[in-house]
Amino acid sequence: MARLDVPLLDRTLHTTGDTVLHAELILEVKNDRGTWVPFDLVVDPGTKMTTMPAARARKRGLPLPKQAVPGLALHGQEVRRGLLRARIPSLEATEYIFPCYFLGDPNAKIADAKNLLGLTGVIDQLRFTFDGSPTPAALYGVLVVEKI
């Protein structure tokens, strides 16, 4: 089974001295010119749906629905319901199609929000395991990514 161990990312907060962890995965996403655009996404099991600011998607040429979904908002922002055609470097050459909500006005200034990789339409294709055991290769442990 194809497997990728991604070291967890650590940072120490200036304000509290706490070391906090998160996991990011690099996805190459195909844009409308057929170019694979590499993005960092935070792997967030608390997130229902993968999200990306719509303005970022537009700037990088990702296919984006023209119309927002009426009556749906996430974090107060309008939602465009689309797809990411993606692959994961270092995890075979499989192409995945993940549902994605593009947030906000595509023509607005890009919010510096992180892209989030959520559960829906993802965990039936990839298995994520958070393992916080430090190893010689990872100071705070790893996110294990496996192709299902």
Binding site: L9, T12, R56, A111, K114
Partner: protein
């Protein structure tokens, strides 16, 4: 006529639920230089990583690899200078290299250097 739900105001630029912004980081100080190219590792970052390395050796007998040390130094350094800023970066054997920061600078950089020519470059948020 639009329903009450549809007419709710929307906001641009909201943070995601998982964002945790440490405003005391130099990244948020407009007077602190934000370099491009290979980033120098701040002493505080090097100390924090060295402290963890020593702790792992002392408490668990784990000797971390040079790659693991560099991985932590790279991403901590990126965060130090560019917390919550969109960046085009890549990891190199010498450390982390920022090619452009901020959406417009990234646009301009990618116009001059197409992504296909940028081995290992990634668009992320510091």
């Amino acid at each position: 006529m639009r329903s009450a739900r549809e007419s709710r105001p929307t906001r641009e630029g909201d943070l995601m639920a998982s964002d945790l912004i440490d405003y005391t980081l130099p990244a948020h100080d407009p007077n602190f230089p934000k370099p491009r190219g290979l980033l120098p590792v701040p002493p505080e970052v090097a100390e924090n990583v060295a402290r963890r390395e020593a702790q792992l050796l002392r408490e668990r007998g784990i000797q971390i690899t040079a790659d693991a040390r560099q991985h932590s130094l790279d991403y901590r350094t990126l965060n130090w200078y560019f917390d919550n800023t969109e960046v085009l970066y890549r990891r190199t054997p010498q450390g982390i290299e920022v090619l452009a920061a901020g959406s417009e600078e990234i646009d301009q950089y990618l116009e001059e250097h197409p992504l296909e020519t940028l081995d290992g470059a990634v668009i992320g948020v510091g």
